[in-house]
C-alpha cells in the first residue's frame, strides 16, 4: 500500500483520504477531468459550455451545448433522465472554485458523474483538440455510449421484420419466459445453458441476441465471443414478447 511505502522511505507525515474519489464526488465536490477523456468520450457526454451562447459562437468544444452559468438553475428541466449521464462543465479556464456552486447544484439534482474540464477551453485549444465555430447547440442531447457488440434498436427491428438470411435471432430468456412468446424465426437457448449448447449456433450467420432488458443478452454476447469463431451482436434495450405481440426499443 502506497502510504506504508512512503513511511518506509522515511516520510513522517503520511495521511490517507480513505473514502477516495466516490465520497468526494457524492458530496458535490469538484472532480477534474482531462481533455483526453472528453475527446475519447465525445458524442456520448453532456458537454456544457458555461461561458454562454455568445462566447461559444466564437468557438466551442465540438459537440458542446452552450448554457449560461448564471441561469443554469432554469435549465434543470432539460437535463437527461439518466442520472448517470457523464456531465462535463467548462469555462475559459475552468477554475474549479468558480464552478463549485454549479457542481453542487447539479449533484443535488441527483447526477452522479459531474466533472470539470481541467484547464478549460483555453487548455483544450492549447492541445489542438477539436473545436467548432459558429452555431452552437443550446439544448441538451444525450445518448449513452453503446457497449461493444451492441446493435441499435432500429437495426434490431429491421432484423426482426426482414429476417435476413445471414442473421439468426437468439433469445436467451428462460424457458418460462419463452412460453409467453418467442419472436418469429428466433431460437431460444436460455443463458444458463448457453455455454454447453454453443455447438447449436451457426458460424456462418451473425447471431443477434436479445433477452428482456439487455443484461443477459450482453452476458451471452461475451460467452459467444469468448468461444471464438462466431459473429454476434446484442440488443441492449428492453423488449417484451407477449404472444403475437412484441414491444421493443426504448433507447
Amino acid at each position: 500500500m502506497a502510504a506504508r511505502k512512503a513511511e518506509k522511505l522515511g516520510y513522517t507525515n503520511v495521511k490517507v483520504f480513505h473514502a477516495g474519489v466516490p465520497a468526494w464526488g457524492e458530496t458535490g465536490n469538484v472532480l477534474y477531468t482531462d481533455g483526453a477523456f472528453v475527446e475519447q468520450m465525445m458524442g456520448y457526454l453532456v458537454l456544457l459550455d458555461l461561458r454562454g451562447v455568445e462566447a461559444a459562437k466564437k468557438a466551442h468544444i465540438q459537440g458542446a451545448v452552450a448554457l449560461d452559468l448564471k441561469n443554469l438553475e432554469k435549465e434543470k428541466v432539460q437535463f437527461p433522465i439518466d442520472r448517470k449521464a457523464p456531465i462535463i462543465l467548462y469555462t475559459d479556464k475552468s477554475d474549479w472554485k468558480e464552478l463549485q456552486p454549479a457542481v453542487k447544484m447539479i449533484t443535488s439534482w441527483g447526477y452522479s458523474r459531474i466533472r470539470v474540464l481541467e484547464g478549460g477551453f483555453e487548455g483544450w485549444l492549447a492541445k489542438n483538440r477539436p473545436v467548432q465555430k459558429g452555431d452552437v447547440r443550446t439544448t441538451i442531447f444525450y445518448i449513452p455510449r453503446p457497449h461493444p457488440g451492441e446493435i441499435s434498436g432500429d437495426e434490431f427491428m429491421n432484423v426482426v421484420k426482414v429476417r435476413p438470411a445471414d442473421k439468426l435471432i437468439l433469445d436467451v430468456r428462460n424457458k418460462e419466459e419463452a412460453l409467453e412468446g418467442v419472436l418469429e424465426g428466433a431460437i431460444n437457448i436460455p443463458l444458463d445453458s448457453l455455454q454447453g449448447r454453443l455447438a447449436e449456433l451457426p458460424k456462418d450467420k451473425e447471431i443477434i441476441i436479445h433477452c428482456e432488458t439487455g443484461l443477459r443478452a450482453e452476458m451471452s454476447y461475451h460467452i459467444i465471443r469468448n468461444a471464438g469463431g462466431y459473429k454476434a451482436r446484442f440488443l441492449n434495450d428492453k423488449i417484451a414478447v407477449k404472444g403475437k405481440e412484441f414491444f421493443c426499443c426504448y433507447k
Partner: protein, 199 residues
C-alpha cells in the same frame, strides 16, 4: 424516446437442435492465468494451480444465475448457486460494478461455476492517519502550495484521466517505486494518498 410495436405470429422455435444437446466445451482450460487481469496480478500473486478469476465485477443476473467479471479485455461469465459464499458484501447483488473481485471457480462442461466470491476488502488504517471529506476539502481549498502538502492519486492512469481531485498528481500504485520523485523532498511534509475509496 420512441416506442414501437408490431404484431407477430407466435413462433415456437424452441430450438429443435437442443434435443441433440451438443456440448460446446469451455475454453482456456490449460492456461489458468488467462482468468487473471493484468492490473490485479501487478500487486497480487497466487499459486498457478489455484483456480481463480481476478478482475472487475461487471454484472449479476438472478434469472440466469450468472455473474460476469471483466478480466483485461474479456468479460468472463460464471455460474453461481444458492450455496455460493460472498465475502465482504452481503450478497452478489450488492457488489458494486467495477469492484475488484476474486472468484474461485470450477470448470464444468456447461461453463465456469463458483462457490465463493471475495470482494476486495477495505484496507484497515489507523484512525489518526485518515482524512475525512471535510478535512480533505479544507486542504484542497488551500491548494498544495499554500497547504504545504502533496496529494497523490494511486489509481491507474485511465482513472486519473477520467476524474481526480483538484491539485492531485497521478502515481499509479504498481509504479510507486519508479515514481518516488513525485514525493516531496522534505520528508516531514504532509503526503496524502487516495484512490477509488477504501482500497
Amino acid at each position: 424516446m420512441k416506442t414501437r410495436w408490431l404484431t407477430y405470429g407466435v413462433g415456437f422455435f424452441v430450438s429443435a437442435a437442443g434435443l441433440f444437446c451438443l456440448y460446446g466445451g469451455t475454453q482456456a482450460a490449460s492456461d489458468v492465468t488467462a482468468f487473471r487481469a493484468p492490473n490485479c496480478v501487478n500487486c497480487h500473486s497466487y499459486p498457478a494451480e489455484q483456480k481463480l478469476i481476478l478482475g472487475d465485477f461487471q454484472s449479476y443476473s438472478r434469472l440466469a444465475g450468472l455473474i460476469t467479471v471483466k478480466v483485461g479485455p474479456k468479460v468472463q461469465t460464471v455460474k453461481y448457486n444458492p450455496q455460493t459464499k460472498v465475502e465482504n458484501a452481503p450478497t452478489l447483488r450488492d457488489i458494486p460494478i467495477e469492484a475488484a473481485v476474486k472468484v474461485y471457480y470450477e470448470e464444468k462442461p456447461d461453463g465456469l461455476h463458483t462457490d465463493k466470491v471475495v470482494v476486495k476488502p477495505k484496507i484497515k488504517f489507523p484512525e489518526n492517519q485518515i482524512l475525512s471529506v471535510e478535512e480533505m476539502k479544507k486542504l484542497v481549498d488551500l491548494g498544495p502550495e499554500k497547504g504545504k502538502f502533496t496529494l497523490l492519486d494511486s489509481r491507474p492512469a485511465y482513472r486519473f484521466q477520467e476524474e481526480r481531485l483538484p491539485g492531485a498528481v497521478n502515481q499509479p500504485f504498481p509504479n510507486f517505486d519508479k515514481l518516488t520523485n513525485l514525493l516531496p523532498q522534505d520528508k516531514n511534509q504532509l503526503v496524502i494518498f487516495y484512490c477509488q475509496g477504501f482500497t
